[in-house]
Symmetry: C2
Subunit: 207 residues, 2 copies
C-alpha cells in the first residue's frame, strides 16, 4: 500500500468516513455508494472516490462499496484495528465525562490512566473502567513505563501547556486537547482540538 504523500486533509476525512460506515453497519446495511456517503456527510461523491483512491480499490464501478469491507480497510489504514492505550489528564467534570464516554469501545482506544493535581480527586476511582485517579506528578513515568503514545488533555486552559509539554517529553505522539487554548508541541507530535465552537460555527453560516 502506498502511504507516501497522502495529504493530511485526506487522512483527516477518513475517520469521518469510518464513522459514517459504522452508522450504516449499525443500521444493518451492506452496500453503500460514494453518492450516499457524500449526501450524508456533505462531501461530494467525487471527493470521496478520490480520497479513497489514494489507498487502493475499494469498490467496483456501478456496484458500490461493501460497507463491512471498506470499514475494515479504513480501520487498518488508520491503525485502529488494534487497541491504543490512552492517558487522560484532568479529572474534573470534563475528564469525568471523557472517562465515562461509551464511544471509545470498539473504536481502537482505551483510557488506561487518569491524572489530576487535585488532592481531592487523586486516589478515587473514575470512569467506566474504574481507574484510580493518580497524581499528575507521576504522569511522565507512567507514560514512559507503559510506552503510551496518546494523551487527552481535559484540564483548565492554564494547565494545558504544561501538561502537553510533559506528555510530549515522555513520549506521547498524539494529543487530543479539550482545553480552549492553542498548545505548542515539538516536531513529531500531533495535536487535535476538540472545540465545540468550530462545530457550532459550521452551522451558523446556514442560519
Amino acid at each position: 500500500m502506498v502511504r507516501r504523500s497522502i495529504p493530511d486533509i485526506v487522512v483527516g476525512r477518513l475517520p469521518v468516513y469510518l464513522r459514517a460506515l459504522s452508522f450504516l453497519l449499525a443500521e444493518g446495511r451492506q452496500i453503500t455508494s460514494s453518492q450516499e456517503l457524500g449526501d450524508r456527510l456533505g462531501i461530494s461523491s467525487a471527493q470521496i472516490r478520490k480520497d479513497l483512491s489514494h489507498f487502493g480499490e475499494f469498490g467496483k464501478q456501478g456496484t458500490g462499496y461493501d460497507i463491512a469491507f471498506l470499514y475494515d480497510q479504513l480501520r487498518q489504514i488508520l491503525k485502529v484495528d488494534r487497541m491504543w492505550d490512552v492517558v487522560l489528564v484532568g479529572a474534573g467534570n470534563l475528564g469525568k465525562a471523557i472517562a465515562d464516554y461509551g464511544g471509545f469501545a470498539g473504536k481502537g482506544f482505551m483510557i488506561t490512566a487518569i491524572f489530576d493535581n487535585d488532592p481531592d480527586k487523586i486516589g478515587k476511582p473514575m470512569g467506566i473502567n474504574n481507574l484510580i485517579v493518580r497524581d499528575v506528578s507521576e504522569l511522565a513515568n507512567a507514560i514512559r513505563s507503559s510506552e503510551i503514545k496518546i494523551g487527552i488533555i481535559a484540564t483548565p486552559a492554564r494547565d494545558a501547556a504544561a501538561v502537553a509539554k510533559a506528555m510530549a517529553e515522555a513520549g506521547v505522539k498524539a494529543i487530543l486537547n479539550y482545553a480552549p487554548i492553542t498548545i505548542t508541541v515539538p516536531a513529531g507530535v500531533r495535536v487535535q482540538y476538540i472545540d465545540p465552537v468550530v462545530g457550532l460555527q459550521r452551522m451558523t453560516y446556514y442560519l
Copy 2:
C-alpha cells in the same frame, strides 16, 4: 457577496481558519499568508486561497492577509459577529463541563438555558452563567418563546434522539451532538457531532 453554491466542505473549513486567525491575533501578529495558515492547519495554501476566493478578495498577491480584517470578514460570513442563544440539554458531567466552558466567549455563542430530566439536577445553578437547570419537559416551550435556533445535546446516548426531535420540532435549526449516536433530524436542521474518536483516529494514522 455571492453566497450561492458554496460547498459545505468549504464552509466547514472556515471555522478552522477563524480559530487559527484568533490564535495568531492572540500572539500579537498582524499579517499572515495562506502558506503559514496552511502549515499550521495541514491544508495546502492553494486550498486556503481557493476556499477564501469563494467569498471575495481578502489579500493582495505578495503582501499576505491582514489578520484582523480577515478575522472580521470570516466572522461576518459565518454570522458569528453577533451573539446566538444556545440551549443545552444534559446537566451531567459533560453538560457541566460545557456550561463551564470558557471558550464560547467572544465566539458568538452563549448558553442561555439548561435542561435535564433528573430531579436532583433541576432547580440547581450550573455553569459560568449560573443558569438554573430546568425540567426538560419545558424544553419545547422555552425554545419557542425565546426563538432559540441552536441546541447542544449532552445527554446519554439513549436520550439523544428524543431530545433532538423535541429541539427540531420547537424550531432549533442547528444541533451540536455530544452523544455517541447518530441522530436523525428533519430537512432544514443541521447536526454536527463532537466525537473524540474522530480526533484520535486522525492521528493514529501517523503513529
